[in-house]
Symmetry: C2
Subunit: 416 residues, 2 copies
C-alpha cells in the first residue's frame, strides 16, 4: 500500500523518526533561535534554513511561515499544503535525490544539540475519558463494581475542559502540587503536598482547521480537521481531585501540569496503522456513527526512573483500546456549535488495556495502592515519588514501516 | 475619600461611563480599524489617536501598544503603568484642562458609531460556583433539600475549567445548541435542540499579571494580579448538562457560548464600592483567609426582551452576595502551582441573592419551570426562547460616584 522509501540521511535501526514519519516540532540550539523542524533519524531538518535554500519555492508557501516560533501559522495553510509540503520533503530526503544533499550541513542539526520547545500555541485543551477499561476500573474502585460504567458512558464520549496554560513539553520538570485533601474518617480538609501523584498515559490530537461558532464537524469529515498527534501525560493528584471534583469535575487535581511529547506526528504518517473501529456494543446516535476506520494500532509504554536509577517499564498498552475514536470525539465536541481553533488539543483520557499490566495509570496498576509495583532497585511504587522521572513512548510498526512519537519525559520535583 | 472629579466631555445623567470609571475596550468604526478605547459618557476616547497627539509622551509607554487589536499588550505593562496612565487620562479629561480639548474631534468617537470587539485574548477561562444562595438552590432542586451544599463547598471555592474559544462579546447573536438529552422515564438519549436554554448572571475578572508554572498567588496579593472586571453571561443548556455532567463536570451544556460586556472596568474604578468580606460561617485553611476587604457592592440586573417587544427585568441582585471573594478564588486557583496568563478570565458563578426575585438564572427564578415568569406582552418564560434577547447590566453607586459596566446583550437564534 505504502511505497517503499529510503533516505540518504542516516536513520538508526529502531528509530522513531524514519522517512515515513517526518513529524513537526519547534527546536532551538545555542546558535539557532526557536524554529520549526522535522525529525529524521537522529537529526532535525531545520525548516527555516530549508526555506532559504530555495528548494521549496515551487510550493508557493509564504516565506515567513517558518520564521515563527510556533507551528500554528504553518498548520493554518491547510491540509493540501501539508500534503504537498510532506511530499516535497520526502522527495528531498529520498535516496538518490541530490538537491538537498549539498546543503546538509546547513539544514540538518543533531537532535543531541537541540532543545525542544512547545510546538503549538494551544488555545483550548479538552480531555476525554474514552477507554472503556479505564472508566470501568475507576468505576469499580470508586463506585459500584456491578455498575462500573455510568449510564451516559456508552452514549457519548465523556469529556471536560482542561487547563491549557500548564501544558509543558517533554523535559520540563514539574513540582508536586499542594492542595486540600480530606484525611480518611474526618470531615475537615488539610493542606499540603499531594500524596497520591499519578500519571495518566494518553494521546492527544491537534486541531488543524478552525470552525466558526455554531458550526458542527460531521464525524466522517473530522480527520480533515486534525493535524496530528502527540503523547500526553495528564498528571493527576488523586487526593486533591477526590475532595474537589463533586459536582463540577476535576480542577486543581489536574491543572498543575500536563506534559506532551515535542514532535507532532501527522495523520498522513499514522495512516499505515489505521484499523477497524472498536466494536461498540450499544448503538449510538447518528451524529456519532463512525463507519470509516479512524482507530490506530499504536504501541504505548510508560517507564518510571527513580533518581539516579534505571528505567522500569510499568505498563505496555495500545491506542487501539480506545472505545471512542478521535472522529467521534471531535464530532461530539462540536455538535453543540462549540468552535475549535488551530492548535487546540484534545486528549484521549487514560488508555488502559484489558490486562492488569496494560493499565494507563498507577491508580489502576497498583489498584489504589493495594498492589505496589516493584522496581529494579528494590523500591516499590504505589504512586509517583519526588525525583522520579516518568517516561512515555509510543510507535506504530507495520512491516518495514516504523513511525514513533519519541518520548515525553518529566521529572517530578518536590513541592515548592 | 475619592476626590470629586468633573470632565469637559458631556456625560449624561445615569451614564455608566463617568470620569470615575474609564473602562477599556476594543472598538471599530467604518473608518477606524479595531483599536483600544476608553468609554466616557456617550463617547469613546480613541487611545491610538490619543497616543498620536503626543500628550502621553511623558509616560514613556511603548508607542505601538495601542496599535494592537487587543488589550493584552497594554495590560502587560503592569499595574504602575495602568495607574499612571489612568491618572493622566483623568487629568486630560478634567474640567479646566485644555490640553486634549483641541484634539476632541480626532480622539473622541460617538459610541453609537462604534462596534465593540473582544477586549482581550483569553488564554484560559475558569468558572467558579461561589454564590451560596445559587449553590443551595441547585442543591435543593437536584439533590437533598436538607443537605443542599456539598461537603467541600464551604472549604474551597469550587470551580472548573470552561471553554475560552466560544466567549463572545455583547451584540454577538448565539444559536440554540443541539445535543443529547435524556427524556424523563427513559434510559436512551435523544438528539435535538436544547429545550432548557438558560442564562447565568455572573461577573468575571481579567488576569493582569502572569505567574510562572509552580507559583502560587497569596490571597492578600491577589488583587495585584487582576486588571478589571466584566459582566459575564454563562449560557447553559440545562438538559444537555444534566445528561453529560457526571462524573467530569459541565462540557457541551456550557461550551456553545458565553457572552461578556465589552468594557473592562478596572479595579481602581471599583475601589469606591469595596466592602467588608462576606461573613463566612466555617473557618477556612490559612491560604484562603482573607482579612482585607475584597468584596464589591455592585447592582446587577437581567432583562428578557422578546423579539420586537419590550424589555422585562426578571431579576435584580448584587455582586456582594458572593460567599467567596475574587482574591480567595485566585489564591485557590494557583495554590497547586497552576500558572495564569494576562487576559485569562475567571467568572464568579451564578450570582443569586437571598430572595426569589434576586436569583441569577431562569432555573432558579422559575424553580425548574414550576413557576413561569410573566412578561409584559402576556407571554410566559420558564427558560429562554428563540429570538429572545437577554440583557445584563451592572453598576456601583456611592454618593455622586457612579461606575457601570454597560451591558451584555445577546440574541438567541434558532438552532443551526
Amino acid at each position: 500500500m505504502t511505497k517503499k522509501l529510503t533516505t540518504w540521511v542516516e536513520v538508526p535501526p529502531q528509530s522513531d523518526f524514519t522517512i515515513y514519519n517526518l513529524p513537526y516540532g519547534i527546536f532551538t540550539t545555542v546558535d539557532r533561535s526557536p524554529r520549526p523542524g522535522i525529525a529524521i533519524g537522529d537529526q532535525i531538518l531545520d525548516l527555516r534554513e530549508l526555506m532559504r535554500t530555495g528548494l521549496l519555492d515551487e510550493l508557493g508557501m509564504p516565506l515567513g511561515v517558518f520564521r515563527k516560533e510556533l507551528l500554528n501559522d504553518f498548520i493554518a495553510l491547510g491540509k493540501p499544503v501539508w500534503t504537498r509540503f510532506r511530499n516535497r520533503v520526502i522527495e528531498l530526503l529520498s535516496e538518490g535525490n541530490e538537491e538537498l544533499k549539498p546543503h546538509a550541513a546547513q539544514v540538518l542539526v543533531p537532535q543531541a544539540d537541540a532543545e525542544m520547545k512547545m510546538p503549538v500555541h494551544i488555545g483550548d485543551y479538552t480531555d476525554f475519558y474514552s477507554s472503556k477499561e479505564h472508566a470501568t476500573n475507576v468505576g469499580k474502585m470508586f463506585r459500584d463494581p456491578e455498575n462500573a460504567l455510568l449510564p451516559n458512558w456508552k452514549h457519548l464520549p465523556v469529556g471536560y475542559h482542561g487547563r491549557a496554560s500548564s501544558i509543558v513539553v517533554s523535559g520540563t520538570p514539574i513540582h508536586r502540587p499542594k492542595g486540600q485533601t480530606i484525611p480518611a474518617g474526618t470531615d475537615k480538609p488539610v493542606f499540603g503536598p499531594s500524596r497520591l501523584l499519578d500519571f495518566e498515559l494518553e494521546m492527544a490530537f491537534v486541531i488543524g482547521r478552525e470552525t466558526a461558532l455554531g458550526e458542527s464537524i460531521p464525524v466522517e469529515k473530522a480527520e480533515d480537521y486534525i493535524f496530528g498527534m502527540v503523547l500526553f501525560n495528564d498528571w493527576s493528584a488523586r487526593d486533591i481531585q477526590k475532595w474537589e471534583y463533586v459536582p463540577l469535575g476535576p480542577f486543581l487535581g489536574k491543572s498543575f501540569a500536563s506534559s506532551i511529547s515535542p514532535w507532532i506526528v501527522t495523520m498522513d504518517a499514522l495512516d499505515p496503522f489505521r484499523m477497524e473501529n472498536y466494536p461498540q456494543d450499544e448503538p449510538v446516535l447518528s451524529y456519532l456513527e463512525s463507519k470509516e476506520p479512524h482507530r490506530f494500532d499504536l504501541n504505548l509504554e510508560v517507564a518510571i526512573q527513580p533518581d539516579g536509577g534505571d528505567e522500569n517499564i510499568v505498563t505496555r498498552t495500545n491506542f487501539k483500546y480506545m472505545y471512542w475514536n478521535i472522529c467521534q470525539q471531535l464530532a461530539h465536541h462540536t455538535v453543540n456549535g462549540c468552535n475549535v481553533r488551530i492548535g487546540d488539543m484534545c486528549a484521549s483520557g487514560t488508555i488502559s488495556g484489558p490486562t492488569p499490566d496494560s493499565y494507563g495509570s498507577m491508580l489502576e496498576l497498583s489498584w489504589r495502592g493495594q498492589n505496589p509495583i516493584s522496581l529494579s532497585d528494590g523500591s516499590e511504587r504505589k504512586f509517583i515519588q519526588d525525583k522520579d522521572t516518568v517516561v512515555m513512548r509510543g510507535f506504530g510498526k507495520k512491516g518495514d514501516i516504523r513511525v514513533g512519537f519519541g518520548e515525553v519525559r518529566t521529572k517530578v520535583l518536590p513541592s515548592n
